[in-house]
Amino acid sequence: MAAARPSRSEAARPLRCPSCSGEAGSSVACLACGRILREPEGATLFDRLGLSADEVFDAQTAEARYLRISRILHPDHRASDAPDIQELALENTARLNEAWRTLSDVQLRHEYLLELYAPGSLERHKKLSPDFLLSAMETSEELEDARSSGCQETIRRIARESRQQIEARMHGVASACSATIGRIARDDHVKEAERPTRLLPFHEWNIEQIAVLLHQARVYRRILKDTGVRT
């Protein structure tokens, strides 16, 4: 997962196409000339879709990007190319798909963003408070009882409550992110490559808060999944 490893320091931005020397628009393909690119070291999942990690994620724009780059890269459209190009097309389409899978999922995207700005923080702040764990455990047990007794009403209530728990946490994540990342994005005086390292210590409390909220959201996502109730 070398290329997918979050790190903001290495890839030069904007990404240039070595072939047409225009702005490539993606780290895996040049949207200007249609050439497949060898991804530079340190490119992020955002780079693959030609998006900025610092901007608000717009699902529609991102999906349009994903499909546009897919058209350039996909092995189906490269079936008559030379074998080495076909291999690169396969490899890069897999990279592009990985980026879309992670970034189109609100939970995975925020976990990835956090790792991008503060590597290791999810692991560092994975201890959840006893109060939270106790309450989650009680909900789990209640769900298990309801499932074995077939009490649909309780199951639906737990699903509804879990959804609310998740929403509340993702809301918290979003506002904490905008306080941290949004600030970074607006701060034009800071050189791009230096932004995270300079600003992170200042916002350390926010990082911890985001990590904890994301872990908690995960716990409730699992409970919601166990209810089997459809969205």
Binding site: E63, S70, D76, H77, A79, R101, R230
Partner: protein, 621 residues
């Protein structure tokens, strides 16, 4: 030359079905089915092996299901990529032929007399027939194809399909999922956008796929299914009813029903099922060859009650696919029905109820998949740049970890191609090889998942335990087929990988089968050549004898004796089997007699002229 080039690049689409197979192509007027001269296109996916070592495929083979049941193979698709235990669990008692295993692996094999055939080889015979029909329709050879498989086929079933193509001498440019192909065929003339559900219930398999179509991109959001659920199972239920009736009337155990009668009952059950799609009541006479023919009748209500649990299972799959796609049922814009079994009214009714809309049935459910495969073939050959298919892996893929736990590396419904990397190390000093067991499935323990194979990494540089850092990459390509590669990061050594597929053929085995089939083809060729050479030898001897008999031919006695010797030898060789010796002898004799023939021609003309002048020809010619 241009045309020859174009024809060698032509890519056809093939629907390799459980019950029927057929091919299609995109021509100047859009996709069309490749038919025989009589307009028929469906080739029954049946192969019958005759006692003389030859075989027939298609309609002729299907007709032999009754006369030659033990040597007639139907529904071989259900055996693809399966081991014997799996076949026994799913197909117990429903196949007229014997399925066994070979000595050194657990793979399912079909026993035909003394021969053990892999399902791949039998599928290859069907593919070869499809190819023949396609070539006859097109008027030029076909080498490349897009072949469809059920979306829910796992890695080993896909591999088996690819191997079958290779054995048939076809390059499978892409393995495409059947429901996705159907969506392509439906989408083409309407260029519709939105969320589409394809419900595909065929002869042996069920698939449901949820697709989102945006500006020519067909993105599969989720797929679910059952590779052992289809029309065959409905036939089986009807068959059981017929059998219990026979038991009731005859008082005999149904275990004693002979194979030929069982096949007869199977065909009757299928007929009844089809009739019940048209009318509320169906009945037919079954002649088992002993006693008076029996009349059996079945109401649609009774049939529907019998198959209801199976149809409910397909509806549960639909729910799961929607869940996985994160799509509420009211956001489904279109529902498309594919596969012969969707002609059953109950199926149509339940699907319509589930999605609260009338499903599309405009296209022939038996042909729509082949048409879609042809459209994808057109995309691959560069004829269509507007369309793009983004499909998914149907089942999660992972490895065995401590305690037999299943660690998922790639989750189901991830868009393919998809890649995952995992770090491995050694547990013993100077260990140079590691074995990784790869599984596919959704359960927590590997024993509940399907093992795809064992990947043995070799060539790890000797180092203390735990020091090597081996990065193993699992790549699932656009066909949904897995390849594994590995690299030791400290030494940059590429570890080599030996794959031992659990349910498939190794590369060497496929090569061997291809070699054997080429040798068999060569044997066929040799047999034909022998016949031709024998005729040639006979003609040479006869011709020469005639010339020698002409009184006016100026041959010396020496020449006559020598020619007589040569003719005797030629006749002797023509009675034998040595093709090469006979060929050489024919050539030599031909050269020798050429000179004599030249001489003879002059004399013969003279004599013919004389004869014509004096009398009628003495012989008939």
């Amino acid at each position: 030359m241009k045309d020859a080039e174009r024809s060698s690049q032509v890519v056809i689409g093939i629907d390799l079905g459980t019950t029927n197979s057929l091919a299609a192509i995109v021509g100047p007027d859009g996709p069309r089915i490749l038919c025989r001269a009589d307009g028929t296109a469906l080739i029954p996916s049946v192969v019958s092996f005759l006692p003389d070592g030859t075989h027939v495929v298609g309609e002729a083979a299907r007709a032999m299901a009754i006369t030659n049941p033990e040597r007639t193979v139907h529904s071989v698709k259900r055996l693809m990529g399966q081991n014997l235990a799996e076949v026994q669990a799913h197909e117990a008692g429903r196949l007229g032929y014997e399925v066994t295993r070979d000595a050194d692996s657990d793979l399912a094999r079909v026993r035909i007399g003394e021969r053990l055939l892999t399902p791949q080889e039998i599928s290859a015979l069907i593919l070869a027939e499809v190819r023949r029909v396609a070539e006859a329709a097109l008027g030029h050879p076909v080498q490349r194809a897009v072949i469809t498989v059920p979306a829910y086929f796992d890695d080993s079933q896909r591999q088996a399909t690819r191997d079958a193509a290779r054995i048939a001498g076809l390059e499978a440019l892409r393995i495409v999922n059947e429901p996705t192909a159907a969506a392509l065929a439906y989408g083409l003339d309407t260029s519709r956008e939105g969320n589409v559900v394809v419900y595909d219930l065929g002869g042996g398999t069920f698939d449901v796929s949820v697709l989102k179509i945006t500006q020519g991109v067909y993105k599969v959001a989720a797929t679910a299914g059952d590779t052992h659920l289809g029309g065959d199972d409905f036939d089986q239920l009807v068959m059981q009813r017929i059998l219990s009736l026979i038991q009731e009337r005859a008082g005999a155990s149904t275990n004693e029903v002979p194979p030929a009668a069982l096949q007869q009952i199977r065909l009757s059950a299928e007929q009844l099922k089809c009739q019940l799609s048209q009318s509320d009541h169906a009945s037919l006479e079954i002649d088992l060859g002993q006693g008076a023919p029996m009349r059996f009748s079945l109401s649609r209500d009774a049939f529907e009650a019998a198959i209801r649990p199976l149809v409910d299972r397909t509806i549960a799959c639909c729910q799961r696919a929607l869940d996985d796609a994160g799509l509420p049922v009211d956001e489904v814009d279109e529902v498309v029905l594919v596969g012969g079994s969707t002609r059953i009214p109950l199926v149509r009714r339940l699907v319509a109820e589930t999605f609260a809309r009338t499903p599309h049935t405009e296209l022939d459910p038996d042909r729509v998949v082949a048409l879609g495969a042809a459209i994808q073939a057109d995309v691959l050959s560069g004829g269509n740049k507007d369309l793009l298919l983004l499909d998914v892996i149907p089942l999660s893929l992972g490895i065995e970890t401590v305690g037999g736990a299943f660690a998922k590396l790639i989750t189901r419904n991830a868009t393919v191609p998809v890649r995952a990397t995992e770090m491995f190390s050694t547990s013993v000093d100077n260990q140079t090889a590691i074995e990784i067991n790869v599984y596919q499935g959704e359960r927590e323990l590997v024993r509940d998942c399907r093992q795809l194979g064992a990947f043995k990494l070799r060539g790890i540089p000797p180092m203390p335990a735990g020091l090597p850092r081996i990065e193993v990459t699992f790549l699932v390509d656009a066909d949904g087929v897995l390849t594994v590669s590995a690299r030791e990061q400290r030494s940059e050594v590429k570890a080599s990988i030996d794959v031992v597929p659990t349910h498939g053929l190794t590369r060497d085995q496929v090569k061997q089968i291809v070699r054997d089939s080429i040798r068999m083809a060569r044997d066929d060729f040799a047999a034909r050549e022998l016949v031709e050479l024998r005729n040639k030898a006979r003609n040479l001897v006869a011709g020469t004898s005639r010339v020698l008999a002409m009184p006016e031919m100026p041959f010396t006695d020496e020449q006559r004796t020598s020619l007589g010797h040569d003719m005797e030898r030629l006749e002797q060789l023509a009675r034998g089997e040595d093709v090469a010796a006979l060929r050489t002898a024919c050539d030599e004799f031909g050269t020798r007699t050429q000179a004599l023939a030249d001489e003879a021609i002059g004399a013969a003309i003279k004599s013919e002229l004389n004869r014509e002048r004096s009398q009628l020809p003495s012989s008939g010619r």
